[in-house]
């Protein structure tokens, strides 16, 4: 796990004077699943194409398997050790088997070798028996599984996935995810997956890099990215609902009190008094209760009135006006049990350790 498969140093790409990728430096460890999350148009696909050596960066360094990948002669052999699955399945006008065989044909494998590998791979992606069909007749999910089979049949050491499940129904998406996890666990393939779906990133990736506007401002474990984002933009993108500007009023050995619109909020931070900060905490870290007497170790307890309830899947975002609007995530079940409605008085609480503090730039 320790050696790096890919290392970039101030990697940049510029199209017609526009910086699409700017000074991206990070490394991907051998054998890990690395997620790249970011909004649409942030440069995810371009970054993958740079890493897969399909496009030439305009600046910076790129090392793959310890080799300088930007030396012209190094590219082709390195490219043959990697594979890329694009967001929209690319389908060649030929049979499913011939589609999957393409990469092996390029590598001049013998027909029996190809035939064996294609059959095995078809089976692995759940398309056994589809080999002779024209690839054009496949559904979206089948097409993407075929494209995945075509990418992995050449046994790449690094697999790049560009939003592989974005256009798929949930069942197909789940199958693709299962296959990806299996490839990573059983064959040790390093996987780099781009997604704008943070939950997918969280579910699959060991580590995540956040890409915003062509730059990579944060790389870390999913917990770090989701709970300790380093900028407010990242926080907003990873779904942090509670974000406020404030000033530190006191700090005793890291246990600080921050004034947010007149409310004292306890947090753990090294910043000194009078520092202007932004504090943030996730809605799922906020507990909602109807009486103050509920025993809680949380140091931040506020009284308020329910202002709005926004359903989201099996949960409800309950926005409570406590002078500042605080959002708490409650399951639909407990929302019904508590009989929550708009205008109801309630209490919210959250721990000082759940509050992440950013110095205002």
């Amino acid at each position: 796990m320790s050696t790096s498969a890919i290392e970039t140093h101030t990697l940049s790409k510029n199209y017609d004077g526009r910086d699409v990728i700017r000074d991206v430096s990070f490394s991907i460890r051998s054998g890990e699943i690395f997620g790249i999350i970011g909004p649409s148009g942030s440069g995810k696909s371009t970054l993958l194409r740079l890493l897969d050596l399909i496009e030439q960066p305009t600046g910076g360094r790129l090392t793959i398997f310890g080799t300088d990948a930007l030396v012209p002669d190094a590219k082709f052999p390195l490219r043959r050790r990697m594979a890329l699955l694009s967001q929209k399945p690319v389908i060649f006008s030929r049979s499913v088997s011939d589609n999957i065989a393409l990469g092996m044909e390029y590598r001049r494998k013998t027909k029996p070798e190809i035939s064996k590998a294609v059959t095995e791979t078809l089976d692995a992606v759940g398309l056994a028996g589809y080999g002779k069909r024209s690839a054009r007749t496949l559904s979206g999910g089948e097409g993407q599984r075929m494209a995945l089979a075509r990418a992995v049949v050449t046994e790449p050491e690094i697999l790049f996935l560009d939003e592989p499940t974005t256009n798929l129904d949930p069942v197909s998406a789940e199958r693709i995810e299962e296959i990806i996890i299996r490839l990573n666990r059983e064959k040790g393939i390093t996987v780099v997956i781009c997604t704008h779906d943070m939950i997918q990133g969280q579910r699959l990736a060991h580590r995540i890099g956040v890409i915003m506007d062509g730059a990579l401002p944060q790389v870390g474990t999913t917990k770090e990215i989701f709970h300790q984002p380093t900028t407010t933009n990242i926080a907003r993108f990873v779904g942090v609902k509670n974000m406020y500007a404030g000033v530190i009023t006191e700090n005793h050995d890291g246990e600080a009190i921050i004034d947010v619109a007149g409310k004292p909020i306890a947090a753990v931070t090294p910043f000194l008094p009078r520092t202007k900060v932004t504090i943030l905490f996730r809605a799922e870290d906020v507990t909602l209760h109807l009486e103050q007497s509920v025993k809680t170790s949380a140091r931040n307890v506020f009284r308020g009135i329910i202002k709005k309830m926004v359903p989201s899947g099996p949960f409800v975002d309950v926005i409570v006006d406590c002078g500042i609007d605080i959002t708490a995530l409650v399951t639909i079940q407990s929302s019904e049990d508590l009989g929550l409605t708009r205008g109801m008085k309630c209490w919210v609480s959250f721990k000082a350790t759940a509050v992440h503090v950013l110095e205002e730039q």
Partner: protein
């Protein structure tokens, strides 16, 4: 006039049924010249089109514009220029191609090559960018990538070839100037340069309208048969990839 058209039909059927040796000879020569010129043009144009498509060079846009302009090259102008080149004093006089089927093939190639070349470039340009990236990512060499791209654009490229054949078999200006509409010796259809279009032109000028119409109908018939054949190829069976069949 209507009578002549009807007579033409009747005569066409008679000529075909009786396998009139001269008409058969003219038809065979027409097919040989047009198919050869189209085939040789395709042989040059498809790789050349792929080369132009794949390489970025100074003036590429201009080259493509010139190629596309040549789609409309007047056949008589092509014939005239080639005539000057092939004449005994001309730079290509040593070939001795003037008034020969070879010369006519060359003339038709000049007319057909820009068409197939330009439309091949257009066909390749129509391929999705994701597909080009996929081909590279799958580990293709440059050559393998081009072959796959041509295979993917095969329908559009074959359509270009069909169009090219249409231009070759139907043109009269260059065939007349370069070939000279020379009647073949009986039994040796390669000894002459009379093809269906030049024969129609001659019969019309001689006032034998029904024979001209009969030859015109044969020309149309030949074009239909060749196009149906090429369309059958286009619709699939002959292009299927090999290894799992």
């Amino acid at each position: 006039m209507v009578n002549e058209i009807i007579d033409g039909f009747i005569q066409a059927i008679q000529l075909i049924v009786s396998l009139n040796p001269e008409v058969v000879g003219i038809t065979i020569l027409t097919l040989i010249v047009s198919l050869t010129s189209t085939f040789l043009s395709a042989l040059i144009s498809i790789p050349a089109g792929a080369y132009i498509y794949c390489h970025d060079f100074f003036g590429k846009r201009l080259v493509i514009n010139i190629i596309q302009t040549l789609y409309a090259l007047p056949t008589v102008l092509a014939g005239l220029l080639l005539f000057l080149l092939l004449s005994h004093q001309g730079p290509l006089g040593f070939l001795d191609f003037l008034f020969t089927p070879q010369g006519m093939i060359l003339a038709q190639m000049i007319l057909v090559t820009p068409l197939i070349l330009g439309l091949t470039i257009t066909a390749l340009s129509g391929i999705d960018k994701d597909m080009r990236h996929s081909i590279l990512s799958l580990g293709a060499t440059k050559f393998q990538a081009v072959v796959t791209l041509i295979q993917e654009a095969r329908f559009a490229i074959l359509a270009a070839v069909i169009l090219g054949f249409g231009r070759a078999i139907s043109e009269v200006g260059a065939a007349m100037i370069i070939g000279g509409n020379i009647r073949a010796f009986p039994g040796d259809f390669l000894s002459g340069t009379r093809v269906l279009t030049t024969a129609i032109s001659l019969e019309t000028s001689q006032g034998d309208f029904s024979l001209a119409i009969a030859l015109g109908l044969i020309l149309l018939g030949v074009a239909v048969i060749v196009n149906v054949g090429l369309n059958m190829i286009q619709s699939g069976s002959l292009w299927k990839n090999s290894w799992n069949s």
